[in-house]
């Protein structure tokens, strides 16, 4: 019984992490139609930035942790804004080319990070509380899982509010379809695109810092290794649906956790789930039908 609880609780933590990684991706993909292969690099850079901050300010205080999260998110946001501004903007409405650009960017940046920080993983220290566990119905749950879960819920709320309460969601979906008509309604659509990328990048940076605590290390490959799950979650959840991504994150993580533990087949199960969902609901669980 306690095993099941442990699996479920840690699965939830993993799901939170997946959502943190996928949220920015889903936002960008859903609103702009850009499948962002460079998202992993946003994440890695955020994680490295967080680590550099922690290293300089003494690793294990809560203040350092908060500061590293802020800086990580800010760096992710800046990098993403730069990407949109310099690379993506020139190729609006050419989705394949945009995807290709992000593929190239991912190749180049991972190599660059390896040049700067080396290929070895850098191990991370967080506040001491992170290393403790909390007993829940006989299962000892590592504390940092709770941090991930809380962060994921906050990010979800913030993004949903952004999309619901501001006009940006609409502007961007319209802009993807017919950019010149949006400008002909008196809206500067470029700003909106940059903003979405920036927010996606910030979420990635934040996710990167938390992921580095979850895994205990940062390396240039950190983001890339999570990216494939972020893709899967985004697609299963449904195009442009943040809640879909959240539901899918938890579902995928739980499935993976249980399948891994009982059959050692976590990845295959996830892949199979993806194939099944797409075949029977090509638009994803909560996606709009196109």
């Amino acid at each position: 019984m306690s095993t099941v609880i442990l699996l479920a609780a840690t699965g939830l933590g993993l799901g939170a992490l997946y959502f943190l990684v996928a949220s920015g991706l889903s936002l960008i993909y859903g609103l702009m139609g850009v499948l962002n292969f460079a998202h992993g690099s946003f994440l890695t850079l955020g994680a490295f930035a967080g680590w550099e901050v922690a290293r300089r300010t003494g690793a294990d205080s809560w203040w350092t942790f908060l500061l590293s999260i802020l800086i990580g998110a800010a760096v992710g946001a800046l990098f993403a804004a730069f990407t949109e501004f310099v690379l993506i903007r020139r190729l609006y409405q050419r989705h394949i080319e945009q995807v290709l650009i992000t593929v190239g960017l991912a190749l180049a940046t991972v190599a660059l990070f390896e040049g700067i920080w080396g290929t070895d993983p850098v191990f991370i220290q967080g506040p001491a509380w992170f290393k403790d566990t909390t007993e829940l119905l006989g299962a000892r749950i590592p504390n940092d899982r709770f941090v991930c879960i809380i962060a994921a819920v906050l990010v979800l709320l913030a993004m949903v509010l952004f999309l619901k309460r501001t006009r940006y969601g609409m502007i961007i979906r319209a802009g993807v379809e017919n950019r010149s008509m949006v400008t002909a309604l008196g809206i500067d659509v470029r700003k909106a695109f940059t903003l979405v990328f920036t927010i996606g990048g910030a979420a990635a940076g934040l996710g990167g810092v938390l992921a580095s605590h979850y895994f205990g290390y940062v390396s240039p490959l950190l983001g890339g290794s999570l990216l494939i799950f972020a893709f899967i979650v985004t697609v299963i959840g449904g195009l442009g649906s943040l809640t879909g991504a959240a539901v899918a994150s938890v579902a995928v993580a739980l499935l993976q956790q249980f399948a891994n533990f009982y059959f050692g087949l976590g990845d295959l199960a996830v892949v199979l789930a993806l194939a099944l969902v797409l075949l029977f609901r090509p638009a994803g669980l909560l996606g709009r039908k196109s």
Binding site: T3, T119, D120, F123, P142, F215, N260
Partner: protein, 375 residues
Amino acid sequence: PTPGSAGSGSATDGAGSVNVGIVYSKTGPLAAYGEAYYEGLQAGIDYATGGTGEVDGTKLNLTYHDDGGDPDKAVSVAKDLIGQDYKILAGTVVSGIALKLAEQAAQNKVLYISGPAATDAIQGINKYTFRSGRQSLQDVATAGTFVDDLKGKKVVVFAQDNAFGQGNLAAVKAALGGKGATVDSVLVPEDATEFTPFARQLIDAKPDLVFAAWAGASSGSMWQALNQQGAFDAAPIVTGLGDAATFGAYGAAAGKISFLNHYFPGAAGNDVEKAMIAAVEKAGKKPDLFTPDGFVAGQLIVQAVKEGGSDVDAMVSALEGYSFDGPKGRTSVRASDHALLQDMYQAKLVEKDGAWTPELVEVVPSDTVAPAEAK
């Protein structure tokens, strides 16, 4: 171009020089290991040739080639070198590449001395392949020395479910199972990121000794999970001590782990080791886990050239049964399967000035951990 007969090929061109192709990871994911190997090799050649870089008047001409961790590149490089009539290849830290190079060595009848790649598959793979590092079976046998009498004990292997983990499990079964222990395993799917439940599973297996075989970046969170779930209270946990960069990975568990060790600076304390450390430090680098592998490679190359000239078969005979003083003490090449018999170490990590430092617990003599002969 026909493969030249002894002495007429370009390999021993001009004023009597012999070309040696070193294929290793200068870039790529294992570049750090590559660097340690390289530094060790420089020191080893220097040491074995008395600083001349020559063997009996024949100049050793070492050329360095980056495999970037990519087997395709390594094979291309090897073919290029063999095509240029190189008779000696050495290097690589990647097991997959070592196997490919061993294959090339056999196909083309050249000498190959593999580097830190630990795969047991190299042992006795063919007549032309030797190794300059240690192999998994030796690691595992060292682990077995942590329990006095293995009979009736339950050894559980905690490893990733991949070739490395499976290899280690097989090695444990062979090495420790043979000594009367029952061997069980908790194999964690390679791509799992959450180890907590597996830590529980390990504890529930009620082991007497745990052998953890783990490679890669996820080791940090693996150790944290074992520590958090209280696995160290259940049984002693043995694992291989990695290079200095990984000391941070053990986190809070570092002091509790029993380490088997291939090498850390200062472990052997003999003169050859001192010479190696001095040479590496002179070059402005720090000796590490795989420095001896490079050093020994240098010693083997010099021996091969000294006794074999440029005749590959003669080189092979020269190396088979060769016994010498290496940085880890008395080291010998077993004639039958080219296993490199060497001492291993038990070690622990202690905290010094806020950093974890390895400390020797015991030297495990080479015959205690010699792998069974491969047929």
